[in-house]
């Protein structure tokens, strides 16, 4: 135990940086993914067929491909197209596209669960469609989409560990570097696991707290 505590003290800054980058990458992905997912969900339910089809294809392609393949594709493909992305940017791109598809699908479910009478009522009292969306449909959809949305956040924190494979210096890669130096394999993998666990449990509890607030109208 003593050598482990010494090593963890020596490696505290790299590990802290890695943990921060994990949180940053996951937050960026959930942010972009939520924007993308809301657009996607709205188009899937209310868009005309010509727009619905490409969004449907996007959602199905993203949901049928492993996250690791998305990450590797986002890392290798843009450079061929002449766009230079850093490994971190490529990782955020892949995770955002992944999150966008999942959030799109859960927004679609949430929007479809709202009785159609509500949209009709909103139209009949003279609200335009954007107003109906903003004041009637989205507030309800967001509330019922909250639990699966938190799940997607947990998936993203977990998925960000895959970025270590393309060399993004997040928590897992920093941990592997420390293990390469110290050979304390079990200790540091367990430590990294505990950090992921803590971050996810915190997110989970945060979600539950928000849920209680929005439910207790």
């Amino acid at each position: 135990m003593q050598p482990f505590l010494n090593q963890i003290w020596i490696a505290r800054w790299p590990l802290w940086e890695g943990f921060l980058l994990t949180i940053e990458v996951a937050s960026a992905a959930i942010l972009f993914g939520t924007v993308l997912g809301c657009i996607c969900g709205i188009q899937l339910v209310y868009g005309p067929a010509i727009i619905r089809i490409p969004f449907r294809v996007y959602v199905d392609v993203m949901r049928g491909t492993p996250v690791l393949v998305l990450i590797l594709a986002a890392f290798y493909i843009p450079s061929v197209a002449g766009v230079n992305l850093s490994a971190t940017q490529a990782g955020i791109l892949a995770l955002s596209l992944f999150a966008g598809a999942h959030i799109g699908e859960l927004m679609r479910g949430a929007l479809q669960a709202i009785p159609p009478g509500q949209a009709e009522a909103a139209r009949s009292i003279g609200l335009t469609f954007p107003q109906t969306l903003a004041y009637v449909l989205l507030p309800q959809a967001l509330r019922s989409a909250l639990p699966p949305w938190i799940n997607t956040g947990v998936e993203l924190i977990k998925g960000s560990s895959l970025l270590s494979i393309i060399g993004v210096g997040e928590l897992l890669l920093k941990t592997q570097e420390v293990i390469g130096r110290t050979f304390l394999t079990i200790e540091f993998y367990v430590f990294a696991g505990a950090l992921y666990l803590l971050a996810n449990i915190f997110l989970d509890q945060l979600g539950k707290a928000i849920e209680r607030r929005v439910q207790g109208r």
């Binding site: 392609v61 492993p66 590797l72 290798y76 977990k158 960000s160 494979i165 079990i186 993998y189």
Partner: protein
Amino acid sequence: MGYSLQFGAVWASFGNLLSGLALGLGLAVAAVACGTLIGLVAAFASVSSSRIARVLVGGYVMLIRNLPLLVLVLLVYFALPQLGIRFDKYESFIGALALYAGAYLTEVFRAGLVAVPKGVVEASRAIGLTWVQTNVWVVAPIMMRNALPSMGNTFIGMFKDSSIAAAIAVPELTFQARKINVDTFRVVETWLVASGLYIATCFAIAALLRRLERLFPKF
């Protein structure tokens, strides 16, 4: 720009991709089979009257669901040997994926168990079936029917997660695609073909599962 797609190099190694795909499916089947056993035991434990069993199952599910699979895989493959427990890379990966699938399937089966109407259990007890007989002949079939769609989803998820085996050099589809990528530099083509294979397989599994569901009567 000015990149022209040339699939020749990828088609030349298409056989490797297909064998990688088969290996990935095999890993997923093995893991889900073991995970189903874990999940069944854990689900029945989580609805049992034993407080200790419930707490243990709750801890297992919470722990595994919040850990990245890659960390779990690396732990099993690189850390367990330090404790004198050695598995080869296939066994390590199947073990890690089975633990992972087990946690998700525990939730799936638990939801299936909770959805079994109470009256059914009472009725079978009333006609003289023992607790074991009730669970095996009455509760389990209804639970399985309830759980089937989610089990299918879990299987598709585990098939996609089999890509993570590439990290410990198990030659499944992603590993083969990376190899072609590095050997030939046909970057776009390789990932298009690999993604296409994954998507096509996921769709095929989903279609198969829908047919399977229709074979079972609804309750």
